[in-house]
Subunit: 355 residues, 2 copies
């Protein structure tokens, strides 16, 4: 190898930023698009947490897309996010088509305040957009002692069981329980057996896929990844996953007064149109469920029992939900987050200046 070849990769090496540096960059990039700084700080908190947890597809990587939609008026830089208390323990939030992580962060804050008062509170959110990963919200809530059930609807990618037309989104559902002595237990799952990206990867490699992953466009299970890309992702457990995706849409979409099923428009196909996505946040104040400090020892016992399960493969011990993500979180909080050079350059350009 000559020197030029050695230097070429160095020129595109990822840029390592501390958590605070990444947050500052994200805030500047969002504020430069016209968002008030407090709003940019709220949204950036959710996105940077996504990067810390290793869910980088839902992190600051989204800011260029948000910026483009802000530019063409698909979402609003200055929404009037309205929180209405419709019953002692219920909030209805109208996001007014702002960016999703801002609306989500606002709804979460309002729900935390109300749940502190009533022990249990929920927010039904409409007029929103893609709000980032559920684990970011569950993490913030768990740190304050709240158990969570959080869900959102999404652009349609899944056909109903036995059907051959996409009617449902991958509608993520998350459940979280705080662990005062350690990391919370947080499940954040979408309803398809695998993400579309895994089907695409198989197609690129020319490999067959298991028949449980997807159907062709006629709704028949297929092992051909190319046929699958023209068809539909299959939900977990067949009609069970279909049922879960549908119930999430009823709770997060329909009951929130948001769009649902194929009334949801696609940000990819129609970036200029409001999506009117819906979310639901349900928060339980675990301090109201027992004597002080009751929860920690029980969650420790619970996770210890699971970790002690003899593994089928000794090299792969049993994990609990969120464990992989919290490993990334601790490592990246300590060592910083690596951004691809191209993304770092984009964000820096959006922020309007180099740091």
């Amino acid at each position: 190898m000559d020197v030029a070849q050695n230097q070429a990769p160095a020129a595109v090496a990822p840029v390592r930023l501390s958590r605070d540096e990444l947050a500052a960059l994200a805030v500047r990039a969002l504020a430069a698009q016209g968002m008030p700084e407090p709003d940019a700080i709220d949204a950036a908190e959710i996105l940077v947490l996504a990067d810390l947890f290793g869910v980088s597809t839902h992190g600051v990587d989204r800011i260029p897309v948000y910026s483009e939609r802000l530019r063409i008026g698909g979402i609003k830089a200055l929404p009037s996010v309205a929180v209405e208390r419709s019953a002692p323990s219920l909030l209805r939030v109208d996001g007014d088509n702002g960016i999703g992580p801002l609306i989500g962060r606002r709804a979460l804050r309002a729900t935390m305040e109300l749940a502190r008062e009533t022990g249990l509170a929920a927010a039904f959110v409409r007029g929103s957009n893609h709000f980032g990963p559920i684990i970011s919200y569950a993490h913030i809530a768990a740190a304050a002692g709240f158990a969570t059930i959080i869900a959102t609807n999404a652009t349609t990618t899944i056909a109903p069981s036995g059907g051959k037309e996409a009617k449902l989104g991958n509608n993520p559902l998350g459940l979280g329980v705080p662990n005062p002595g350690g990391d919370p237990v947080i499940l954040d799952m979408a309803m398809s057996v695998v993400a579309r990206a895994k089907v695409r990867l198989a197609a690129d490699k020319g490999e067959a896929i298991p028949p449980s992953w997807a159907t062709d466009r006629d709704g028949r299970p297929t092992t051909d990844p190319t046929a699958a890309l023209h068809g539909f992702l299959q939900p977990i457990g067949g009609y069970k996953g279909y049922g879960l995706a549908l119930m999430v849409d009823l709770f997060a979409g329909l009951m929130s007064g948001a769009a649902y099923l194929n009334h949801v428009s696609s940000w990819a196909d129609a970036p200029e149109a409001p999506q009117n996505l819906g979310h639901i946040f349900i928060l339980f104040d675990t301090n109201r469920l027992g004597r002080p400090d009751w929860l920690g020892p029980l969650v420790e016992d619970f996770t210890a029992i699971l970790h002690a399960t003899p593994p089928a493969d000794p090299a792969r011990p049993v994990l609990v939900p969120g464990e992989t993500e919290y490993r990334a979180f601790h490592q990246r909080s300590r060592d910083g987050i690596e951004l691809p050079a191209a993304l770092h350059a984009k964000l820096t350009a959006l922020a309007g200046k180099r740091n």
Copy 2:
């Protein structure tokens, strides 16, 4: 065929009872075991609904088992079911080891009353036993305008993903949304791909099973139903279903102050021991989420969109969750419920007299 052969089947023909007749028989059978009549009425309501919905494994069929456990002191005929309001929207219920459907019905009633006041309420229930099918509770709540999230833990049958020891129950989770103009949409699902009975059926027939159904006792997926019967049921979507079963146990078991994981004892292996199962009931008053009569037209639109999905097989149209069960419910409410003759005889004997 001679006359004797014709008569033999007639002697064991099922007995058809109206809904009211079946309820009366169930109440008498339970009251004869020492339960106060109001308690017997509450428990019988849940069990008879199970039979109406076609979930007969969770219906009056259970009364002989309950009776045996009452007889040997495994459960109490005269429990002191205690409801404590631990926060404005939170209830903690101690079932005091009464029969499950009684405790569940009491917890549901208390949660409905509180949710009417606060818009959203939850009950965390401990000291309980198998409480019947979730659809019975979701149906009662939906008829009064409540959307529901209901779950329970259960005797362990599922190994954690990658593990080879049963640590989790099949932990059913149910979600329900009322439909003021028609049948509610109710999902009531356990976390395994299939019930154990389906594996047993394949073993009896000598047929292979799909590798997604179960593992052998070493935690490896198997197509041999006999090996599967010595192993573990697989949860839907692998680690996703494992995660859901685990989160249900955290919410319904651990957070309720009930037993969890392998702390739950088996009613089959140790019928004389209290199980200390836990349930959670979360109820939303849908009247507090919009203008009067807002919900019906939206749920009608929602189900109509799904029903209009082109089916992969024209003979099998797309359904929504609960549709099959409500078909049975309407048919049996009209035509009555057929009880196997042996079960009818047992219940009549338990009731202490023939009707």
